[in-house]
Symmetry: C2
Subunit: 407 residues, 2 copies
């Protein structure tokens, strides 16, 4: 029904339709559906007892401040902790380079707000993270895409894209959402060099960097950028804006993430954030500091890694066991997702409908392609289901695909 209100909405709202995934999740959340559709952490790894202790300490010792208004920049000890952790990776930053945001989604929104003029072109991987597309659509962005292979973004194609005039490059280098693929060290360097040559900044989104199950840790793009740059000042002043989150290492329900960037960018983000939500929950920032600022955190991350590794292994084994010939998938070395490619000509949206009837769900891959394509692809999440469910779910999904192949 078209109403008077529909006539009143701003032009930009034409571009902010509801996320296909979130709408889809609504009817895959029945308890008997095995869902590989969401991107949720395993609740089994939520450190509930640790949070209880932290709530007690924070409320008893700092209740007056933890429940009060806070600064837009974020809780200073938390910013300092993040800066200190970054220093461990070999990049020199101070708390002034850190902004706390209300989840990574807000970081993406604020970055869109401060950078994107209507019609600006942004380079994204195809497929890429849907939340970024959704954040930036509201600012009237135009997307330019670059494909991936098993080593991540095809940086050999980068120059051809940057010649189109690009506002910034958006990249998820580690265990990318949705593909699970990791950008190789050589390509990270190439990305930095080409971006630098064309004067185009990079936004590095790294929610899963600490969730590597195997292989060598690769330095974040921001760290390599700092290393490769002739330094005039000790504090980072390069070409990369980095964002990460507590959602995957503590709990998404806190809505806590952060941006690391040159100080001028942080200052502008702070101005934008003042208008957006004043500041992120003080209480949650105190809690996260209390929980994350301890040796315990390292052992906790190890538990998450081993939990997710087992689930990934189970999914890879089940895929090999049940999937018909012609179906391919990525082998992520960390993170939460893997990416399935069906035989050419199959439509994952049709498979989706039969799959839901068979009580198994995933996200059709076309959603992640800002310029279309990917109809024969799908994203599978392995972090949120227990191993026995993963095996059963892949079995169901394989049956649906086989039936569809026959038909």
């Amino acid at each position: 029904m078209h109403t008077l209100w529909d006539e009143r909405f701003a032009l930009r709202t034409d571009n902010i339709g509801s996320s296909a995934i979130r709408e889809m999740l609504k009817f895959t959340s029945q308890p008997d559906v095995i869902s590989f559709a969401g991107g949720m952490p395993a609740p089994e790894v939520f450190p509930i007892e640790k949070f209880k202790e932290a709530c007690d300490v924070v409320l008893t010792e700092m209740g007056d401040n933890a429940l009060q208004y806070g600064s837009t920049e974020g809780y200073q000890p938390l910013r300092e902790m993040i800066a200190k952790n970054a220093t461990k990776y070999g990049i020199q930053i101070s708390a002034d380079n850190v902004l706390i945001t209300t989840g990574s989604q807000q970081a993406l929104d604020l970055l869109g707000r401060i950078f994107i003029n209507r019609g600006d072109r942004v380079l994204v991987e195809s497929p890429t993270y849907l939340g970024a597309l959704q954040a930036w659509n509201a600012y009237g962005v135009k997307y330019v895409t670059i494909p991936f292979d098993q080593d991540g973004m095809r940086t050999d194609l980068l120059e051809s894209r940057l010649r189109m005039g690009i506002k910034f490059i958006y990249v998820l280098p580690n265990f990318q959402n949705p593909t699970g693929v990791t950008l190789s060290r050589e390509r990270r360097k190439q990305l930095i060099e080409v971006a630098d040559a064309y004067g185009v900044p990079i936004i590095e989104d790294d929610p899963y960097g600490q969730l590597r199950f195997e292989g060598e840790h690769l330095p974040p793009v921001v760290v390599l950028d700092d290393e490769m740059r002739a330094k005039e000042v000790p504090i980072y002043s390069g070409n990369v804006i980095y964002t990460s989150t507590f959602s995957k290492i503590l709990a998404p329900g806190l809505r806590l993430a952060w941006v690391v960037a040159p100080c001028e960018v942080i200052r502008k983000l702070v101005q934008a954030k003042q208008g957006a939500d004043l500041h992120t929950s003080t209480f949650n920032q105190y809690l996260a500091f209390e929980v994350a600022n301890s040796q315990w955190m390292n052992s906790h991350i190890k538990i998450i890694r081993s939990t997710y590794k087992e689930r990934r292994d189970t999914m890879l084994t089940a895929l090999a066991k049940y999937m018909p010939e012609g179906v391919q998938w990525t082998h992520p070395k960390g993170g939460l997702f893997l990416w399935v490619t069906l035989p050419e000509g199959m439509d994952a949206n049709i498979i989706f409908k039969s799959a839901v009837e068979s009580k198994v769900a995933f996200v059709p891959g076309d959603s992640f392609h800002p310029l279309g394509g990917g109809e024969n692809t799908m994203r599978l999440n392995f972090s949120n289901s227990k191993p026995e469910m993963i095996d059963e779910g892949i079995k169901r999904l394989a049956k649906v695909i086989k039936d569809n192949l026959k038909a």
Copy 2:
């Protein structure tokens, strides 16, 4: 220093300069300054023990869900509680009419996002809430202003303004920020009638409505609008969008507020919020529900009212005792602020500099005037200082004003 980054920022960022108040607060936060500048609740009324109990219950009984991703619309029991409370005031709404936001600031931002096209005119009281101006500046709004007197917005001037073509009317009917003034019942009705006649929606911002110290409770504009309307459907489908917050009745550190609106508006806000921060902290929503959904809440609000009443009384008494002739102030019947008018020709920004040297702070009133003016006005907050500090602070401030009058 102008840097490369400054060249990259989007056009809209020209309008999102840092809030004068927040910059100012930075140097008024030394412990020996008596500050009437902020808008902070009294930490003495934070229900710390109640929060401790709630943390324990939520983490023990619902930890898995409270720490997980949640829906963009908000925690369903919390939405239902808010809908039920609204029904008590005489307006029929369901949880579908409620959106949980990350503080009222986000509600204002999202409303700007869904309604304001660049160049749209919005009608605001002058002076008005700075946070609203800051939220909407980013969307390229133009302000049209309407003055106030002791009965609130001068609704007799409303038609002349609406003839200019107005996207929406923004009003704080109860104990307005910054003036402390309340819109009378007659003017509420006039506002509704004129807005309805011109087809212009109203945004009602009501953070302090429950903090009335004296006099008769006045129904929110949204409730009167519903009463005055010939109802075709039982669920509210009128012309008013209402927003309120837990910041002043529980704790601002939670960043929890809500919007009540016709369902079409809520749906559009939900789409905008998906891109802005996905959803508001699940954990904080569970906590707020646990704490607010009990009889205890009523007695807690009574404690806040009596605490703030004492502070307001102390401030009014001190103003009468210390201020020189020619200085006037409002007598708010609730809320957190009162408004001082200095003799014509005095400049509150000059007074501010001397005041800070004398270890007392306030906000110069010109900040609250989107089109300029109000140089001889100031906002005083009475909620955040203990009575003995209020007396001493007003004494210091009066001395600065007297010294300035003599000079």
